[in-house]
Symmetry: C2
């Protein structure tokens, strides 16, 4: 899976090993067979390196990841993955037809817009520091949004003949790049996944691939 | 702005007048000059019509909007807008070049993934019913995520030569479809916008257009 139509001119990824948005992009880069330099941004040490002036200049959202590809710099993991898919076309991470593309985007956004934003580090920090929520209530919050989101996703996968070995057909797409990091998060917080057999089946198919394995948090240079 | 290369076969939009994700899609449909049937889904009455069996069958996330275009049904507003842009090409809501497309997607996602999910109805309901947060703390939460998100967005607009009369260049794009509903939400909760002159300038440019005016919550058939 390493054929590319363009050759990258030194791709850099600002990343944090545990950031699931960074993890999505690492999977996409590996699936494309694109070499990249990982620049770690430690989200916790000294109040968070993502809030440093240098990083804020690069990415005003002060969130990871940020991709730099020659003159192009962008944040937002889904924007990055679609950019990579447009510029480095093989293997495609999006279906060819518009209806399929809509489905992959909707599956991806059902994670990236409905689950993950609620469980992001800065939200958990706000719950703890501003709203004085205890650990148990925080864990309940975390699992609540995953369970709600995965219920919707499981039914989307169940209801469609487009679901294959992966979320859409028999090759990984952007949707799988989003799913695997979200599952990793859910396991970290002991979220029960028994009700989601399709999600777990797709997880097994993805984790059998070295492109997904190499992107995992524990295999990053900045892993603690 | 009503030239289309395809003719729609009866587009239906499941929508709620105050839903900002629905509002994004209404703007996009108007910019494309596409006629559509609005099917109101009342998010509050009787516990919320989005949770009915019929709607949940159509959209398993039980969120609005849902677009039906012939055989194609999809949720997720950004997936819908990109679908519309691929199938009904004129006027384009995305730039032609990949770097520009990445920028418009990143601007859109900085709203759709970083601000709006935290202030969604179901999140406010969870804060109130599960975490027993009072009205003042809820309003503070609401404004906090808008202010944080708009600070990043204002700097993204300030730092780029691509910013024009609109978020990207001198025609509306998907980013403007996301920005205007988010500003409407911020005003509903009295969020100060004085620190965001570029955002307010773009708002004025958008609201001068009938396509944006006709999409506004107060101009919907289901407005209360």
């Amino acid at each position: 899976m390493s054929t590319t139509t363009n050759q990258p001119d030194g791709i850099k990824l600002y990343t944090y090993f545990r950031s699931s948005a960074s993890y999505r992009v690492r999977i996409a880069l590996n699936l494309k067979g694109l070499p990249f330099e990982s620049i770690p941004v430690h989200l916790l040490r000294d109040g968070g390196a993502q809030h440093s002036v240098d990083y804020a200049r690069l990415n005003t959202t002060q969130l990871v990841p940020t991709l730099v590809d020659g003159a192009m710099t962008t944040g937002q993991s889904l924007a990055i993955i679609e950019y990579l898919d447009e510029v480095y076309r093989e293997p495609p991470l999006m279906p060819a037809k518009s209806a399929g593309r809509a489905r992959v985007r909707a599956l991806s956004q059902s994670i990236a817009c409905e689950i993950h934003p609620l469980n992001n580090l800065r939200v958990l920090q706000y719950l703890e520091h501003e709203l004085k929520i205890d650990e148990a209530a925080k864990a309940k919050w975390y699992r609540h949004w995953i369970t709600l989101g995965f219920t919707a996703l499981e039914l989307m996968l169940e209801n469609s003949p487009e679901t294959g070995e992966f979320c859409h057909g028999n090759r990984p797409t952007m949707a799988d790049c989003c799913l695997i990091p979200q599952i990793a998060n859910s396991r970290r917080f002991d979220t029960p996944l028994g009700a989601f057999p399709r999600i777990r089946r797709i997880e097994a198919a993805c984790l059998a691939l070295s492109e997904f394995q190499r992107a995992a948090p524990e295999n990053q240079p900045d892993a603690v």
